[in-house]
Amino acid sequence: MEEYPEEFRSPPVRLVALVGCPEQHGLISTHFLSQQPPINTLALPHFSKLSLLLHRSSKSSSSSSAAGILKRDWLVKHRTKIPAVVGALFLWDHVSGDPAQWVQVCSDLDELKAAIRPRNIKLLLLVVVGQSDEISEDRLLALRKRAEVDSKYLLLFNPDPSQLNNSLQRLGASFAELATTFYRDEGRRIKAPIEKKNLSSLDLQVRYCFKVAVYAEFRRDWVEALRFYEDAYHALREMVATSTRLPPIQRLLEIRTVAEHLHFKISTLLLHGGKLIEAVTWFRQHIVSYKNLVGPPKVIFLHWEWLSRQFLVFAELLDSSSATLQSVSSLPLGTVEQPLTEWEFHPAYYYQSAAQHLEEKRSSLELAVSISEAFNDNDDGSAESVVQSIYIGQFARLLEQGDDLAMQFLTDDEYTLYAIAEGKRFQDSFEIIALLKKSHEMYTNLKVQRMGSLCAFQIGREYFSLGDFGNAKQLFDGVANLYRQEGWVTLLWEVLGYLRECSRKQGAVKEFVEFSLEMAALPISTIGSIQTSKCGPGGPASLEQRDMIHTEIFALVSGEARPISLDGTDDLKDNTLHLEIDLVSPLRSVLLASVAFHEQIIKSGVSSLITLSLLAQLPLSIEIDQLEVQFNQFECNFIIMNAKKCPLEAVPSEQHDHRVESAPSLALVPNKWLRLTYDIKSEQSGKLECLSVIAKMGPHFTICCRAESPASMDDLPLWKFEDRVETFPTKDPALSFSGQKATQVEEPDPQVDVTLGASGPALVGERFLVPVTIASRDHTIYAGEMKINLVDVRGGGLFSPRESEPFSMDSHHVELLGIVGPEGEDESQRGPDKIKKIQQSFGLVSVPFLNIGESWSCKLEIMWHRPKPVMLFVSLGYSPNSNELNAQKVNVHKTLRIEGKNAVLISQHFMLPFRRDSLLLSRIKPVSDSSKFVSLPLHETTVLVVSAKNCSEVTLQLLSMAIEVDDDGIEKSWSIQHGGEDLGTAVLVPGEEFKKVFTVIPQVDSSKLRLGMVHLKWKRHCGIEDRSGLTVTDAHVLTKHELPDVHVELSPIVVSLDCPPYAILGDPFVFCVKIRNQKELLQEVKFSLADSQSFVLTGSHSDTVFVLPKSEHVLYYKVVPLASGLQQLPRISLTSVRYSARFQPSSAASTVFIFPSKPHCKMAGITDQGLESIIAD
């Protein structure tokens, strides 16, 4: 845009002039400039200056038949020299002064009028008045008449600060109005011939239209300006075929230059008016109309330069106006006939096009230069004095004729020479790079990566041609990445060709080899190859070229040949060249190493198979001299030698620390896997992973290839799109899908037996012994360590949540109490290094050194507090063969499930004495609180039967049973009588029940009385034959059972039946019922007796008796048995009226045995002892 003169680039500003009174000019012109729109001011101190300024040269005024289209200085003349309005300033003193002053004013006025009249410049009179001046209308009128101006164009100007603002405002308005009038009149004057269409030539029409547009611009009438610029542009386009004024080359040049200026104006107006779409459409038409006007071949470069400039200028215009244009997507896209695309709204596109045209220009200029040099060897200097002529787009020779300068027209040949000479002076490459960089930056900001890449590629190409390989390489690298990623092989080939040449020029051997190998391994087939001469330095993308590059590189790396002009390669002979290929490297298609273990898990020390597969996509076969396979376990590394090239015997001795294998051939055929299978053995357990495969080719060249698992191997990035036969890396297809480059090495099998010899369930409360035997079969045991764990079968800990307080004895239902070593081993004999650590559910014990065949045993003591099953885990860790600290540990695990069971179940029940019943009120009217307790009568004897049932599966021996009172501090509230504790050898087989009878006499009336605990001592009953398999300690076990609380109350009435234990048939006996009143009140008791068939009786059948307090009433009946055997006595039923309680003795209590005759044997009297010990079934 800078190539246009300033007057074209900015919109024109109205121009006025001030004459006379120079001291006021500063004030006024400052005010005019600050007006909206501004007005430029020409300040002339004297009236004579104006006529000099407006002096019209006689030559130019007579040019009706123009020698050109637009004069170069016309616009600047109107912007800086010819005012629209002249403001003549007079002092009031001069106007109203003496006649001499008046005459001077009149003559000044006349001179002024003469100067401005030919140009129709408007006149404005300004009379500068002071504050105290008396204004006389007559003088003003005279002045106005003299100046021939309208009354409103005579203004009084008062520079006094109080009046100044007002005066300036009025001044500004009048000047603006007059200026507008001037520009409109001028416009109309010029427009008239256009409208009448009586212009003699198109030249004039263009010029007139241009002038009208400029005047409209002065008036800020953008619409009219645009219309006339467009008219001018169209008229100009018509001139292309018709004008004959100039020789053809210069004619075209002039038209193009004028068109460019007009177009610039139009675009500026459109863009400033916000008409983006119109501007873009207009630009497109502009390019289309002039695109084919290339001109003669000699000067075709001028055409390209011009086109490039069009794009550049439009890009700059768009760039400066597109501050608000952020997103492409928000734009509407043209019309259906003229669809516009996204990029046409972006300066980046125009910058890029400008650069492309500039490239065209450069190449055609080079051609033109070479032609001109071939034909015109002697440069006669005719291009020297050529300058731009007074018309836009014309050039002329400046001739000095004495003092005068004259313009002489040029011939086309002269002009061509001049243009070529001018063109040679410029370096286009930098311009191209600058344009492309701008475009690249914009595309990058818009995240338009492919366009951006194309720009970057073009920049790189420019740098390359300039010899700046560093910059070029950097750009090409970025571009190559995109093409690699998207698989554009032909484009990638071209970029790589440049990169290869860059590194060749820079002497970077490694990169040169890398790029060359990548090119050689590109999937370019004959089908898609491009046979073109316009290709980069990499040559055409074809199979032959790949072959060539391949051959060249392998000749280089093998040291056989030197590539042409590769600088700095002398050190290749001394230094090795090492390439790394990782999983994302583009060189993966050069060499791909896939490694698969045949087994996912291998035993340590056992050999397994590993398959190594190599694939190369190079166009020709390559021969590998040596392959080194590296693992994470260093000892497993091995080397494969090519038997053809290097026999096994010739292996250098320093490599013998690794295993060396030999393969008959290590030739890699294109697109065919080379599969090698070898044994592998690891001594160390853990992960064994193949890391890399290093291929050595020639004396100095190695490629380190990261190993890949066939199961998770990615396709080759570019080859995956190719339609080719895909083969598996291994022979076994299953291995190709599942094979891994890593395997797990297991630890060796343990050769030690661990036996847990526990029998039967454990019983709650006893110290249960689990014998553990460690017997070595084939391993000696060093640093053995045995861990013991007790785990709840249902998971979780060995304690219930509510009892989770730590370190409480009861928190563990099952507890590991200790570990008893083998017989004869004393605790004190253990060394300090022997570990023994026991917690409630965990134990750790060290195992002494054991030789092969030896064994060691110990016993685990476990106690159950609750019946529950438990898993016992025992794991033995030892090192089998040496006492190195870091040696491999071997582990043996054993588990055993042990049930814990209750040994005995203790229960109890209370009974009242035979044929004696107490009336207990709580039984009649159960109170909710006491109902759950057993009620016992106070001071009466109650029988308590405690029974212990063996619910285990082993025979138990009971040692003693007793009731212990735990709170002996309290006053004895009841008395218990029982016999000796020792039970002797009471043996209880499974399921058998043992009963013991106690009598209880409560002595305190209590609603809740604690009776105490039953203590049962027992142990497993071991026969003599059982002694060997002892699993339990011999100690007795104490099982406790809490007796339930009882309710004690005084019974108001006690009824007892009294009759002999037996009777004899026909022998009468007395049967009495004793009713004892224990209360202080009289008791009324009703009774009735039911007859029995077996007896005859005397006594009352039914009656009501009153029993006195604390006394006893006895009902006597005399009965005679009539039948023998067990007979039911007549049943009596009693009813206590006070308590509404009915009582009837149980049928068992009222039964008596009748002998048929008196028995002869002496009857053992039933002793009235309170204690009986019976072992019942």
Partner: protein, 143 residues
């Protein structure tokens, strides 16, 4: 005249690209086709509110260059077709018609059981059919 047609896959990789010029600008055409993918991305990712809704496969004019016009087409399987023509006043209807026939040819080519989806199209029949379609481009409307 059509100078280049291309089929572009899901990863923006060329599946088939064929230029029909004797001149040495095949590489340039490859660049043009590649760059036009930017526009396809733009159109597919940011469909315009005011523009035609993107429920049709024809993407319209993609890319203005001095001498070429580039048109795009997106199949229902998101495979892109690109057409580069030197004919500067092409009618949309012709281009649509071309793409329709081209699409049919493509579908036939990839329906070949021996064709692996996502790989380059190497079928000779397809190439012949494409060149027939290319040759007949614009003739029906002109005639």
């Amino acid at each position: 005249m059509i100078v280049c047609v291309a089929v572009v896959g899901h990863q923006n990789n060329p599946l088939y690209i064929q230029s029909f010029t004797d001149a040495d600008d095949a590489l340039k055409l490859h660049h043009i086709v590649h760059c036009s993918l930017d526009v396809v991305d733009e159109r597919v990712n940011n469909p315009k509110k005011s523009g035609p809704p993107l429920n049709e496969t024809f993407l319209g004019l993609l890319y203005p260059t001095e001498n070429y016009k580039v048109y795009g087409y997106l199949t229902n399987t998101k495979v892109k077709f690109i057409l580069v023509t030197t004919n500067l006043d092409v009618r949309d209807a012709d281009v649509r018609n071309f793409f329709r026939r081209f699409h049919a040819a493509y579908v036939d080519a990839v329906s070949n059981p021996f064709h692996v989806p996502g790989k380059k199209i190497t079928s000779r029949t397809f190439a012949e059919r494409v060149s027939t379609i290319v040759k007949s481009f614009g003739l029906s409307s002109a005639g």
